[in-house]
């Protein structure tokens, strides 16, 4: 008798060609920049304006030839796409830093192309700081999404949580005259809404997606009613909170560009600066995070080592909801200054996409949300500097990027295994 021969590679992984979708998409984008914006672009100069006139330190504006600049960037983008292609061929996932650099350069080219010849130039501070402020609800909504999906509860109700936060912060902020109370009330209200989601999904095992959609419908219905039947009849005393004051952080806010964009903001922005890294740390570096992730991956296994699955899920979903409530407050008292009908306008759904685009990781989710924030401001800005550009198509870009991401990365990047699965003991 002889032992059967075991050849290397047998019963082990077989090398298959990995998906090249990401690199192909990058190559296409690179070609658009190279040809569309560069070689066949608009003649003329681009002015990148780095400083606001009010700023302490003034940086000189940077003027370049549009076609030359976009051509160079196009070449760099194609090189990056090539690098991604080589990595993909070695069956590696396209690294996030590469995508970030790629995205940044592509955006610079797009901005330059749009503003070619425009007298006001590319106002970097205006664009970046608005991007940040507009992205806050998306980022915080995304954190809510991460917190619930990481413990295995799909949270479609982010939209409702944002809207709740927006409404409550505005009304409570106005009636009490204290915006901080308004902000806290918004978090509590959105937290309570999440408790409904959590208990129906965890205790009563109602389909999580359906419950989420219906809670959105409910919140839209209730806020619409309260807005028209109550709040709107006495706007001055019920829906006129104004916004938080901007707080300039000493010294840091004097740094050119960065200071104006990052360190001269309202409290909602600073809270986001704290929440995102803290969530990252808790999720990946602490035992709380390890337990939460185990509940989202394999709830039965977590249960057998004595982790209370229902309780973990309940509190993570609830605290996530409170963060989304803060995001809602950022819409009103953090930006616009009053509540408007259905003012979240689908941002809660975009937050869902942002969670996937950011691979369920707080830092990446924040970056993805910034991309969406950028397109919101782009819509406004592009119309000013370059009327006639079919910016309906530019507005579509982040949605298309998300589509490519969910289609292209599927299989490589996966959601927490038990996401959406109710857990029944016994």
């Amino acid at each position: 008798m002889s032992k059967i021969e075991v050849t290397p590679g047998m019963f082990s992984q077989v090398e298959l060609k990995p998906s090249l979708k990401a690199s192909i998409v990058m190559a296409v984008a690179g070609l658009i920049v190279l040809l569309g914006f560069g070689v066949f672009g608009k003649p003329g100069d681009i002015t990148y304006v780095w400083s606001d006139k009010r700023e302490f330190v003034q940086l000189p504006s940077y003027v370049v030839n549009s076609m030359l600049f976009c051509t160079i960037i196009g070449v760099i983008l194609l090189a990056l796409a090539g690098l991604a292609f080589m990595l993909n061929r070695r069956s590696k996932v396209t690294p996030m830093w590469l995508i970030i650099i790629f995205g940044f350069l592509a955006i610079m080219a797009l901005l330059g192309w749009l503003a070619t010849g425009a007298s006001q130039g590319v106002q970097m501070v205006f664009i970046l700081s608005n991007t940040l402020v507009l992205a806050i609800p998306l980022i915080l909504g995304g954190m809510a999404g991460i917190m619930s999906e990481r413990v295995g509860v799909v949270n479609i109700a982010i939209e409702g949580q944002l809207l709740t936060g927006a409404f409550v912060s505005s009304v409570v902020g106005t009636t009490t005259g204290n915006l901080y109370i308004g902000m806290i009330a918004a978090m509590i209200a959105a937290g309570l809404l999440s408790m409904i989601l959590a208990s129906l999904a965890i205790k009563y095992l109602v389909d999580q997606v359906i419950i989420g959609v219906l809670l959105n419908v409910l919140v839209i219905g209730v806020t619409n009613f309260l807005h028209s039947a109550w709040v709107d009849k006495d706007r001055q005393h019920l829906n006129f909170p104004g916004t938080f004051d901007k707080i300039a952080i000493p010294f840091l806010s004097d740094i050119p560009v960065v200071g104006q964009v990052l360190f001269n903001n309202r409290i909602t922005v600073y809270l986001m600066f704290i929440i995102v890294p803290v969530l990252w740390y808790v999720l990946f570096k602490t035992k709380l995070g390890l337990r939460a992730r185990s509940v989202g991956e394999h709830p039965l296994a977590a249960d057998t080592v004595g982790i209370n699955v229902a309780k973990t899920r309940f509190w993570w979903v609830t605290i996530g909801g409170m963060i989304a409530g803060l995001g809602g407050a950022a819409l009103t008292i953090g930006n616009v200054g009053s509540f408007g009908r259905e003012m979240s306008g689908g941002q809660g759904f975009i937050a869902l996409a942002v969670v996937i685009l950011g691979r369920w990781q707080p830092i990446y989710v924040m970056l993805s949300a910034l991309l969406f924030g950028f397109t919101i401001i782009l819509r406004v800005w592009a119309n000013q500097v370059s009327p006639g550009v079919p910016f309906d198509f530019i507005v579509m870009v982040p949605y298309l990027v998300t589509l490519v991401a969910v289609a292209g990365f599927a299989g490589k990047v996966r959601a927490p295994a038990a996401s959406g699965q109710p857990y029944v003991k016994g």
């Binding site: 059967i4 019963f11 090398e15 298959l16 035992k287 337990r291 080592v305 004595g306 295994a417």
Partner: protein, 499 residues
């Protein structure tokens, strides 16, 4: 530590899973809990582990009554459990899995990865496990994953270790290693409850035995009892696994597999250059330990899994690249290993389940409409012929017992005109009465001149049905032998040692 279970009763609705069960586990002994699938062993252990609360009865540790409200309590009391389906998180590392639930932390609540790693290495070295604490679970072979489970229990200072069907997924060789580990643990003072339905393993390691049948303790035989004695205690009557049949009348080769290679979802090569032929009128059984490529082989034949290379011919038609529908139309009948997943639609009625793969053509379809009268007629006929015990053909499949569900699948597949039958684990989780009936039906199909391929991890089933036996190990056919081959030799082949 001494453990005593006293008069444990646990009911699910009207089903009594544990009926007044008592047993005593002495310190440092290996106590085997023997019983068929569904006898109530797992329920009893879930009660012991705090996952379920007993309706009555008590648990005593060192003669003191204890109450476990959850696994946390049981673990704190020194009870560790290695579940049949591993309770490991595939994307976590070994160290993370081992410390989950009792994590060492440094300041700021941060996880102390260094301490976790040290803990794993320390236990691993003590018992010679050779486990890398930084490896991800999903990259480890099954045997190593099981050792991680044992480390997990020992890391919590378990004095009592419960092993639930630990050998179901192991090769005979890995099984032997596990037996060694169990003896070593017992010697160092750990008490072990060893749950199994495999008689040979019980005889090999058990210091004492408790046999459970239909939720009740039926006997506590001596570890020296013979296998047939244990078997009859376990099933409660003389089992007639030898189906009576005539000698095979061989015909043409209706299923020909040539150099077949198949990959699993993660691109592991699970079937590796397999070739065999099945003739009309014979049963070829594929034996082997679970997870050696049998599932992928069956799926590739049906066409739900892509063939990487090689060929499959069903009744002279090359179906290597065919769709499932084409394979079925070529005359293949398929009984999947997991009927709930692949064989039935639980929320469909029996009548609908009996036409599951027949919606494209006559007799079930009339143009693009379902022919309801015909469908009901056929359903009534099959329910009669295959002894499906149900109130009506409109009853939902999920409301039937396991045996009757399996009969629905068998009836559907054998109810139409077949050339080849492929049956994976045809009697898994089925009551004894239904096993006999299904075996008879399979042999009847063989006698009617169909080529039959049985894939089973139960050696008893293989020996009862097969005319020839092919043994599969790590994706390859170790050898194809006569049905009269001895168990010992088959066991060696299942461990990859060719004849």
């Amino acid at each position: 530590m001494k453990l005593e279970l006293r008069n444990i009763t646990k009911k699910f609705g009207t089903l009594v899973a544990n009926d007044n069960i008592s047993l005593v586990l002495k310190p440092g002994e290996i106590h085997s809990l023997l019983g068929e699938n569904g006898a109530g062993k797992s329920t009893l252990m879930n009660v012991l582990y705090g996952l379920l609360q007993p309706d009555s009865g008590e648990i005593l540790l060192d003669d003191k009554a204890v109450k476990f409200n959850g696994p946390g309590d049981a673990m704190a009391a020194g009870i560790g459990m290695v579940h049949q389906h591993f309770m490991l998180i595939p994307v976590f590392t070994v160290a993370e899995n081992v410390v989950l639930g009792h994590e060492p932390t440094s300041k700021l609540g941060a996880l102390d990865v260094g301490a976790a790693r040290k803990l794993v290495l320390e236990i691993s070295d003590r018992f010679g496990f050779q486990i890398d604490p930084d490896a991800k679970i999903q990259d480890l072979p099954v045997g190593a994953q099981q050792r991680v489970e044992i480390i997990k229990a020992l890391a919590r200072n378990a004095k009592i270790l419960v092993l639930d069907e630990p050998t179901a997924v192991l090769t005979p060789q890995e099984t032997d290693e596990l037996m060694e580990i169990m003896r070593g643990l017992a010697k160092s003072g750990t008490s072990i409850i060893f749950i199994t339905h495999k008689l040979r393993e019980v005889q090999q390691v058990a210091d004492s035995i408790t046999v459970i049948r239909q939720g009740k303790v039926v006997a506590s035989p001596s570890p020296k009892a013979s296998a047939s004695e244990l078997a009859s205690l376990m099933v409660g009557r003389e089992v007639d696994l030898d189906v009576k049949r005539k000698p095979a009348k061989l015909g043409g080769e209706s299923l020909v597999i040539q150099d077949l290679t198949v990959l699993d979802d993660r691109n592991h090569q699970m079937v590796d250059g397999v070739s065999f032929k099945v003739q009309d009128g014979e049963v070829l059984a594929i034996a082997g330990v679970q997870g050696n490529g049998q599932t992928e082989l069956a799926e590739a034949i049906l066409g739900i899994r892509k063939v990487h290379s090689g060929s499959i011919v069903v009744s002279n038609k090359d179906v290597t690249k065919s769709t499932v529908r084409e394979v079925l139309e070529a005359g293949l009948g398929y009984i999947p290993e997991d009927r709930k997943k692949d064989g039935l639609v639980g929320d469909f009625s029996i009548a609908e389940n009996l036409m599951l793969d027949g919606s494209f053509t006559k007799p079930f379809a009339k143009g693009i409409q379902i022919d309801f009268p015909k469908r009901d007629e056929i359903a009534e006929d099959l329910i009669e012929r295959f002894d499906i015990r149900t109130p009506s053909a409109e009853t939902l499949a999920k409301q039937l017992s396991g045996g009757n569900q399996q009969k629905v699948v068998v009836a559907r597949e054998l109810g139409r005109d077949l050339k080849v039958l492929v049956a994976s684990q045809p009697t898994r989780g089925v009551d004894v009465g239904s096993i006999e009936f299904i075996h008879e039906q399979i042999i009847a199909a063989r006698d009617a001149g169909k080529a039959v391929l049985i894939i089973s991890t139960e050696l008893d089933e293989v020996l009862a049905l097969a005319d020839r036996i092919a043994v599969m190990y790590r994706g390859k056919i170790v050898g194809i032998v006569d049905a009269k081959t001895s168990r010992e030799k088959l066991g060696k082949m299942m461990a990859g040692i060719a004849a």
